[in-house]
């Protein structure tokens, strides 16, 4: 409820700022916010618009699942097994600063023009963040917790289950949550190539047709998608990491 109110206040402020800007700028480049809102509401009633929303949502969800599925376990492994880390860390450290987005043409060449290349591109960028953050999280585990499980007769499997997984989970989720914005940004970029489905295409297409209210309708849709993803991950994180909040409130 509080979150909804806060979102409402932000939307209202942005609306007023936009209104002021649209009224001072001439030439019709910036449509009145009402016109954009009207186009958005009109589009929401159209199946074709929801087709674009679904295409975008599907891509980003697949990418997040892929990034998590590879980055999280690998991060834990690297953070807890010195030999694995020694073998893989140089690769990660060397390739980390490479702006992965420049590999998009390579992906399109290798994986074709379909969704595989688009999903992989987002997953690669997101997966790096999950991997690096989870690795640091697993590394920073208090050795006392590991000693405790070992002293009770537990091997690596038990340490993994009782210590590393729960300790690294918040780190993995935080990486996922903080990078929803990046994911949607990359989504927009990959959707402006070789597709006629998705909100990114919708925005670029409207822009090309000089239909600015429709363009904003697409921008609204993409913003909504970003917010929905952020809140979903946030809710998952809170569910999985109850103990963290408890510790903060108990202080």
């Amino acid at each position: 409820m509080k979150t909804a109110l806060r979102y409402l206040a932000v939307i209202l402020t942005l609306f007023l700022a936009w209104k002021a800007a649209a009224s001072t700028l001439t030439g019709g480049v910036l449509p009145q916010p009402e016109a954009a809102l009207e186009a958005f509401l009109r589009d929401l009633a159209r199946w074709s618009y929801w087709g674009h929303v679904w295409a975008s949502t599907r891509r980003v969800l697949w990418a997040m699942a892929l990034a998590w599925g590879v980055g999280f376990p690998l991060g834990i492994l690297m953070g807890s097994r010195r030999a694995v880390d020694a073998a893989l860390a140089p690769f990660v450290i060397l390739t980390y600063p490479v702006p992965k987005i420049v590999l998009l043409p390579v992906f399109l060449l290798l994986l074709g023009l379909g969704d595989a290349a688009k999903v992989s591109m987002i997953a690669l960028i997101l997966g790096y963040q999950v991997l690096v953050t989870t690795r640091d999280g697993a590394r920073g585990v208090n050795p006392k917790y590991v000693d405790t499980v070992r002293s009770l007769g537990g091997g690596y499997g038990q340490v993994l289950r009782h210590v590393l997984l729960p300790a690294a989970l918040p780190h993995g989720f935080t990486a996922l949550r903080l990078n929803t914005g990046v994911s949607v940004a990359v989504l927009f970029f990959v959707e402006s190539f070789a597709t006629t489905q998705g909100l990114g295409y919708f925005i670029m297409d409207s822009w090309g047709r000089l239909d600015y209210p429709a363009m904003f309708s697409g921008i609204f849709g993409m913003s909504g998608l970003g917010v929905a993803l952020y809140e979903t991950v946030n809710a998952l994180e809170r569910r999985a990491c109850r103990w963290r909040r408890e510790r903060e409130t108990a202080g």
């Binding site: 006392k144 917790y145 000693d147 405790t148 499980v149 070992r150 002293s151 009770l152 007769g153 537990g154 038990q158 009782h162 210590v163 729960p166 300790a167 990491c241 109850r242 103990w243 408890e246 510790r247 108990a250």
Partner: protein, 246 residues
């Protein structure tokens, strides 16, 4: 029953920590280990429970060599080592879970132990909700859950306030009086050593060995602290440690 013979330990590329240490703990016996800080007291416990291996020498329990952690030897780590993401109940039942005891059975045993230690009703709380003294009692319950044959305690009460500390020292003493599980207690508090150790070992020197071994005829006595013998022994210990150049 717990026996350590000629333990040597050195840190990799570092100085020697323990130099030829012998230790015997008979069944039903209690031993307190005191010594200057950084003398290797904690390392000694890690060796005794198999969490670390000595460079040479051997630890054995009833004649069988201890080469890795075993459920026969429980250790209470400094700062309790409770897992913050598990409830009190799950923390106490952890050792049993690792051994594959079915859920209903291990939870029943954990509940009983928590009740014994005055923590009934706190089963569903996370450790962060508990005071330091309560957390320590949870750790004690966890150590007893799988009925170890020997208990090792590393500065168990050092981060507690004075009143809670004395209450928990008494809890440990009465628990020992009913269960007779032998324990080795490492502490920097001489009063704690006198109150809880049937025998008191003084570690000293660098690398450390046993500098002195004192019998404690007044042990066990819940009212020991009020008696002159208690203070006499504590004073004697203090002098020994001071002479050791600590």
């Amino acid at each position: 029953m717990l026996q350590a013979r000629d333990l040597h330990l050195a840190y990799p590329d570092g100085p020697a920590v323990l130099d030829g240490l012998d230790l015997d703990v008979a069944s039903g016996e209690t031993v307190a280990v005191v010594g200057p800080s950084g003398c290797g007291k904690t390392s000694l416990l890690y060796l005794l429970c198999g969490l670390a291996a000595p460079n040479s020498g051997q630890v054995s329990l009833d004649g069988r060599a201890v080469t890795g952690p075993t459920t026969d030897i429980a250790i209470l780590l400094q700062d309790y080592g409770l897992l913050p993401w598990k409830t009190v109940l799950a923390n106490v039942a952890l050792g049993l879970e690792i051994q594959g005891v079915p859920k209903a059975k291990r939870e029943q045993r954990a509940r009983r132990l928590l009740a014994e230690l005055g923590l009934a009703g706190r089963e569903r709380d996370l450790p962060a909700r508990l005071s330091g003294g309560e957390q320590q009692r949870v750790a004690i319950a966890r150590a007893f859950a799988h009925e170890p044959r020997v208990l090792l305690l590393d500065e168990p009460f050092s981060s507690l306030d004075a009143l809670t500390r004395e209450r928990l020292q008494l809890t440990l003493l009465t628990t020992w009086q009913t269960r007779r599980t032998p324990y080795v207690l490492v502490t920097h508090s001489l009063e704690e050593a006198v109150f809880l150790g049937g025998r008191i070992l003084v570690l000293g020197g660098r690398p450390a060995g046993i500098a002195a071994c004192l019998d404690n005829p007044g042990f066990p006595d819940p009212d020991y602290r009020a008696k002159p013998e208690f203070h006499a022994l504590a004073t004697q210990l203090r002098r020994l440690l001071a002479e050791g150049g600590a």
